[in-house]
Symmetry: C2
Subunit: 370 residues, 2 copies
C-alpha cells in the first residue's frame, strides 16, 4: 500500500492505523463490544446486522455508549463540534435477507462509519438500491464495503456499485463464502490486475476501491503476505472468536483453541445451515466449519436431514458439551484455526497482528545470490 | 529465509539461485526438456516418473544429453573431475503406484540430484523403504523431497523420513492433492510453527527440512508471499504449462491462457481420473482441473460413469478441439490459472518470478502511522 493510498483511507477513518485490520460482521458473534474494541485499537470493527436485523438497534445503542466511554483520540470530539458524531464502527448485512427499509433509518440515526454488504440473493444488481439509498439518503460520510468471493463479482461490483472498500474473501475463510472458490493467494492478485487494467467509466469519478483481504489470515505473517499480494489490509473472523469480546459459547471458543490442521479438520458444507433451519443462502454459498457429527452423519448417510435437525435441537440442551468432534453444534471456523492458541483481548489482537506484520515487512531480505 | 539456511541448500545444489524455484513433476508433461530448462535458470526441474515409470529411463537419457549441451556453471565440470556427474534435475514419483525395484537402478545409473515422493498408498510408512534404499544404496548426494497436503503428514514425514525438503501443497494447486485441504496461507505457517516447536529425536542428526510451498503460486507476488509466510521457495506446476518446454497439447495450453477466475472455473474432483480409467489414487486425493463436460455431465447426472468414459474416448479423436468448457479432455490447472496470460520459456519464467519476488521483498514498506 502506498502512503497516498493510506492517507485517503485515514481521511475517512481518522482513528485507524496502518495496515488496516477489520473484524468481520460474524452473525450472532460480532456485537458492539467486539466492534468497539477493534476500532479502539486502530482497526475497524463491524457489528453483525445479519439477515433479519433483529437486535441491531440494541447493538448500535450499546456501541454509542461504549464509544462514549472509550478513547478515540481527537476524532470523536472533533466530529462532535458540528454534526452529530459518526460511530467509529461499521455494520454488516447479509443482503439475501436484510431489509433496506429497516436498515436505512437505523443507519441514519446511529451513523455507523461503514456499511458492509454481502451475499445478495440473485446478484450484484440487488445491491444497487442499497448503495443508492445509502449515498443519497444518509447525510454523513458513510463508506460502503462490499464482500466478494470471485473475480467476476469483484469487477461487476466495482463498476456498478463503486464501493469504497472491496473485501476479497478466499476459500480458507470460516463461515459463509462460495462453495467453489480460490484462496487469496490467487484471487487477490487477479482482482487487482483486473481493477488496474480497467479504465474508469464516465460515472466513476471516485478512485479505485481499497482492497481488504479475508480468509485464513490469523497472525502477522498472514497480514504481511496479503500486503505483499497487494491488499491494503485484512478482515479477520475466526481469530476474533478467541477474544473475550466475542459473543460466543465457551464450548465453541474451546474448539477454536483445540482444533488444528484446519484444511482437514474443517469442511465447506451447507449442512451447518440446514441443521439450524436456515435455508435463505443463495445456492453458490456454503459455510466452513469444524467437522462434527452433524456433518459426518449426513455424508455417511446415517441420518435423514430431518433426523439431523432433531438431533441438533437435542444437542443444544447439552450446553458447552454440544461442541467438539462428537458434538453437533455448528462451529464455523477458517482453515487458520490451528494458528489460534490463546484467547486475547480484541484490541490486543489488532495491535499485535499489525505490529507483527510491520516487523516482517520491514525486515530486510538479503539474497545470498540472485 | 536466512542466508545460512540458503547456504546449506546451495551446497547441495550449487547451481541454484535464491529464492528456490522448482517445477513440479507433472505426469506426462514434466519431461527432461522442461526440467533441464528450469535447472539451467537456477531452479530445480523435476522429471515426472509417475506411477508406472514408463518412459522414465528415456527421459533421464535425454536429460543427460541436454545437461551436457547446457551451461551449468562450474558445477557439472567440478563434479566430473572425480565421480560420475550428478544430474542437476530431480525425479518425482507417485508412490501409490511406483515400484522401488524399477526406480532404484535408474536413480543409481542416472544420478538425479533429487527424488520427490508423493501420495503413498496407505500412509507415510509406505515411504520408509524408499528413503532407506535411497540413503543406503545410492552412492552420491541425492536429496529427498516429500510432498504433503496437511499438517499431520508433514510432521509424521519429518519425523520418520527426515526429508531434505518438505513440499507443502495448498488447495489452490492444480492436479492432485487432498480433496479437503487448506491453502498455503494457513497450512504453511502452521507446519512451520509445529516443526519449530519439536525437538529433534536421537536419530535426527540432520537439520530441519527446507520448506517449499506449492499451490497457487504463479508470479513474483505469490513467491514473495510464500517467503513472507516462512517458506524457502516455491514449486509451480500450472505456470509451466504455459512454456514451450512442457509436453502439452496445444488445446490444453490454450485453455491455460484463456481461463480466468480459477476459484470458479476449476473444481476439485475425481471425475478427471475416472474418465481416463485411473483408479489408483488413495481416497483422500482428488485433482483440480478446469470445469468441462466430463465434470458437468456427471454432477448433473446426465451420464453414467461408463458413458462418461466412452464420451471421453470419443473426444480424444477431436484433437485440440477436445479441450475447453464444452470439451471433455482433462485440463488440470490451479486456481492461479487466470494469472497466466502468455507462453514463456521455462527459464524465463524461473528468472522472472525470482526477480519479481526479490523486487517486491526488497521494496521498503513505510507505514503512514503505526
Amino acid at each position: 500500500m502506498t502512503i497516498a493510498h493510506f492517507s485517503r483511507l485515514e481521511k475517512d477513518y481518522p482513528w485507524i492505523a496502518c495496515p488496516l485490520v477489520a473484524s468481520a460482521p460474524m452473525l450472532n458473534i460480532a456485537t458492539a463490544k467486539l466492534a468497539v474494541a477493534v476500532s479502539s485499537a486502530g482497526g475497524i470493527g463491524f457489528i453483525a446486522g445479519g439477515y433479519d436485523l433483529s437486535g441491531l438497534e440494541q447493538q448500535l445503542i450499546e456501541a454509542q455508549d461504549l464509544v462514549n466511554e472509550a478513547n478515540f483520540h481527537d476524532y470523536h470530539l472533533q466530529q462532535s463540534q458540528g454534526d452529530a458524531p459518526i460511530l467509529p464502527v461499521g455494520v454488516g448485512f447479509l443482503n439475501w435477507g436484510a431489509s433496506l427499509e429497516i436498515a436505512l433509518p437505523l443507519i441514519q440515526k446511529y451513523r455507523p462509519c461503514a456499511i458492509w454488504l454481502f451475499a445478495p440473493k440473485t446478484g450484484v444488481d440487488d445491491l444497487l438500491p442499497w448503495t443508492r439509498a445509502i449515498r443519497s439518503e444518509v447525510p454523513y460520510n458513510v463508506k460502503i464495503w462490499v464482500q466478494l468471493c470471485c473475480l467476476e463479482d469483484a469487477i461487476e461490483s466495482t463498476e456498478k456499485l463503486q464501493p469504497d472498500v472491496l473485501v476479497i474473501q478466499g476459500c480458507d475463510a470460516g463461515g459463509h463464502g462460495f462453495a467453489r472458490s480460490a484462496s487469496i493467494v490467487t484471487l487477490l492478485p487477479e482482482v487487482l490486475d483486473q481493477l488496474k487494467s480497467r479504465k474508469p467509466g464516465p460515472t466513476q469519478n471516485i478512485g479505485k476501491p481499497f482492497v481488504v483481504a479475508a480468509g485464513g489470515i490469523s497472525d502477522g505473517r498472514g497480514l504481511a503476505a496479503t500486503i505483499i499480494l497487494g491488499a491494503d489490509g485484512c478482515a479477520m473472523g475466526t481469530r476474533f472468536l478467541a477474544s473475550p469480546e466475542a459473543q460466543i459459547a465457551k464450548g465453541y471458543q474451546n474448539e477454536i483453541l483445540r482444533a488444528s490442521d484446519g484444511g482437514v479438520s474443517t469442511v465447506r458444507s451447507t449442512v451447518y445451515d440446514k441443521v439450524r433451519g436456515i435455508y435463505g443462502w443463495p445456492t453458490k454459498y456454503d459455510g466452513r466449519g469444524l467437522i462434527n457429527r452433524s456433518y459426518e452423519d449426513i455424508v455417511n448417510q446415517e441420518v435423514t436431514e430431518e433426523e439431523n435437525r432433531r438431533l441438533y435441537e437435542e444437542e443444544k440442551l447439552k450446553g458447552d458439551n454440544g461442541w467438539g468432534p462428537q458434538g453437533r453444534m455448528t462451529t464455523y471456523a477458517g482453515t487458520g484455526v490451528g494458528l489460534i492458541r490463546a484467547v486475547m483481548p480484541a484490541a490486543h489482537i489488532v495491535t499485535k497482528i499489525r505490529q507483527d506484520a510491520m516487523g516482517i515487512l520491514q525486515k530486510s531480505f538479503v539474497p545470498a545470490k540472485l
